[in-house]
Amino acid sequence: MADKTYNITFGGTGGQGILKAAEICGWAAMYAGYHVKKSEVHGMAQRGGSVESHIRFGKKIFSPLVQQGGADILLCFHPEEHDRLKSFLKADGKDLMEYLEKAKAAIENPRHLNTFLVGVLSAYLPIKPDCWQKAIEAVFKKKYVEENKGVFLKGREMGQL
């Protein structure tokens, strides 16, 4: 288990599956033995508004929010939301924006975008594959688990290239 604290900011618009994506990541970090905090905002945001979620994991986490300029990784599902949230990224942080269009092109079902991008993200995090698999089992309804595992792996392959 790494000593470092990992900070990830997710962003997009209501209905894109941002919270689900962050949820998978949170469960995976938990299964990997980290202390995890994940923040999100519900309610009105669901009506097409901006949605963001922050995940922080490490040995001991206090704030559930990533600070401006504190994100190791930024994962956005929408270019305009990316413009809004890029101030969260550390100077040497990893911006996964380059994968958005590639991911859209790689998936058949648009509903799979979130799981695919989590697959990409997984390639940048010190969390073992079995933790991700368990996280997908925890987050999705049984009948969607297998297809999401497949989508996740394709995303992970793209992230590892």
Binding site: E40, M44, A45, G49, S63, L65, A138
Partner: protein, 510 residues
């Protein structure tokens, strides 16, 4: 090995209450508190309900506690306003089995109409208050809240904020332990609050406060974390978490039981540090009390009483700087494409009505370019503002709108009032057959319970007729021409009319 789960503050609280032997839970949905009841409803052995409104929920849950089972009421901050009547006197009656009042405040108004700070209620109602700062604490504190409730014969307020309620954390789950049930007995002196009895109970309440203060002094929930003696923070809730990121080496007095105040502990902590800071979200609740003790402390500039605190704001808050307002560029929520409310509001806009609004998804019709909703105050005021506005502006074309769930919550009494007092006009019940804004919860007019079990269905059209409406029409607003014609007809009549604009929310699961 014990089981772990990634739970929100709401969910963790629900698991904690379940493990503490909770039996009855009541609420009306309200962001950010909704998931507490939704989680509790997944445990089949619990008696869990969406109540008609918060007042009803509070009374049912309190009644259950007085009958001998551990009970819980949950609401958002503005929901507590609706339940204030029973809450104030329940401080006098006390309980038999444990009773916890969970309130979720919404600093920053992510999904609310104001930023009221519930901590003041604990002083006003003379009730103890716990403030967890994380989901793990929410689970631990709710268990303790039941113990305090029973030991001190009091409802216990458990206050969270959006950033605690909607933060998820890895939490360890435990077993459910149901305490032995005390027998339900008649106790007129305790439960009949006529003046003579209430006087005696008020004496009890004041004595109870002294005992609770002693608890506040010794509880581990009010924790001193010694560190650098130069800087000491007194803080609570999520502010503690933000401070620890920025000032990891400072000394802390982290308050988890924020009322009654632990004056001795506060004084003792103040003596150990060179500079004392009070950091809290919203109102100067701790600050004013600590200053009243004659202690010198630094606190945030009043500009930071508005909106939520964020981790990156901590240095400015601590230094007492004025808040630098940054214009939010977030994408604003709007009604879904194809939402039935669009059709209703197209007509209201075309006819240039003054529209008294209410609380729900349809409040978003106030946004440009529609701009066809002209007030949003509280639950039910869409009905009563129609009546009020007509008094000063009889020449204007005034209507009221209210959602189906909101009408059942607080609109019915307003409609009866309008009929009784000979008010006229058209009230639209925007019936999308769900509580949409909070994520689609059931209510009496959907005919389904919180667990989606069939139940008696409230027939809104029958109810409106019984309330005294002269005309009650049910119509699908998507039949545009027919809808327009009906609205034009009703607005020109000297009558009190209800138009139930009925089309199910498109987000409803088929």
């Amino acid at each position: 090995m014990s089981k772990k789960a990634l739970l929100s503050g709401d969910e963790a609280l629900a698991f904690g209450a379940y493990e503490a032997g909770l039996k009855v839970a009541c609420a009306y949905p309200g962001t950010p508190s909704t998931e507490i009841l939704e989680t509790l409803a997944t445990f089949p052995e619990l008696d869990v309900q969406w109540s008609v409104n918060e007042k009803v929920a509070y009374e049912v849950a309190l009644g259950a506690a007085i009958s001998g089972v551990r009970s819980l009421f949950a609401c958002k901050h503005v929901g507590l306003n609706v339940a204030m009547d029973p809450l104030m006197t329940s401080s006098y009656t006390g309980i038999l089995a444990g009773f916890v009042v969970v309130v979720c405040d919404d600093p920053g108004m992510h999904s609310s109409q104001n930023e009221q700070d519930t901590r003041w209620v604990s002083i006003y109602a003379k009730l103890p208050m716990l403030e967890p700062a994380s989901p793990r604490e929410a689970k631990e504190y709710v268990k303790q809240a039941f113990e305090i409730s029973e030991k001190f014969d009091t409802p216990v307020i458990l206050r969270m904020t959006t950033r605690v309620a909607h933060t998820k954390e890895d939490v360890t789950l435990g077993d459910r332990v149901v305490p032995q049930q005390p027998p339900f007995e008649r106790n007129i002196a305790k439960y009949v609050m006529v003046p003579g009895n209430a006087y005696g109970r008020h004496i009890f309440v004041e004595q109870r406060l002294n005992k609770l203060k002693a608890l506040s002094e010794k509880t581990k929930f009010n924790r001193i974390e010694p560190g650098d003696k130069k800087i000491g923070f007194i803080t609570s809730g999520v502010s503690y978490q933000y401070l620890k990121e920025t000032y990891p080496d400072a000394s802390y007095l982290k308050l988890g039981m924020t009322y009654p105040f632990c004056d001795d502990k506060i004084r003792a902590f103040a003596k150990t540090v060179k500079k004392l800071y009070v950091v809290e979200e919203l109102d100067p609740f701790l600050e004013e009390h600590i200053k009243s003790l004659g202690l010198k402390c630094h606190a945030k500039d009043p500009s930071f009483r508005i909106g939520e605190l964020l981790p990156e704001l901590m240095p400015a808050v601590v230094k007492g700087e004025v808040k630098h307002e940054i214009k939010a560029v977030t994408r604003k929520p709007r009604l879904c494409p194809d939402c039935p409310h669009w059709a209703t509001f197209a007509t209201l806009k075309k006819l240039d009505f003054y529209v008294a609004g209410d609380i729900g998804c349809y409040t978003l019709a106030c946004l440009p370019p529609t701009s066809a909703l002209h007030s949003c105050l509280c639950m039910g005021a869409g009905v009563t503002f129609n009546e009020g506005w007509r008094k000063g502006a009889p020449d204007k074309k005034i209507v009221g709108v209210v959602g189906d769930s909101t009408f059942v919550h607080s609109g019915i009494t307003g409609l009866i009032n309008a009929a009784y007092n000979k008010a006229k006009g058209v009230i639209f019940i925007l019936d999308n057959s769900t509580t949409a804004m909070t994520g689609g919860q059931q209510h009496p007019a959907t005919g389904l319970t919180i667990r989606n079990e069939p139940t008696k269905k409230l027939i809104l059209e029958d109810l409106c007729r019984a309330c005294g409406a002269d005309n009650v029409d049910v119509i699908d607003p998507k039949n545009r021409a027919e809808f327009d014609a009906l609205v034009e007809k009703r607005i020109n009549e000297d009558a009190l009319s209800v138009i139930i604009s009925r089309h199910p929310c498109k987000l409803l699961r088929q």
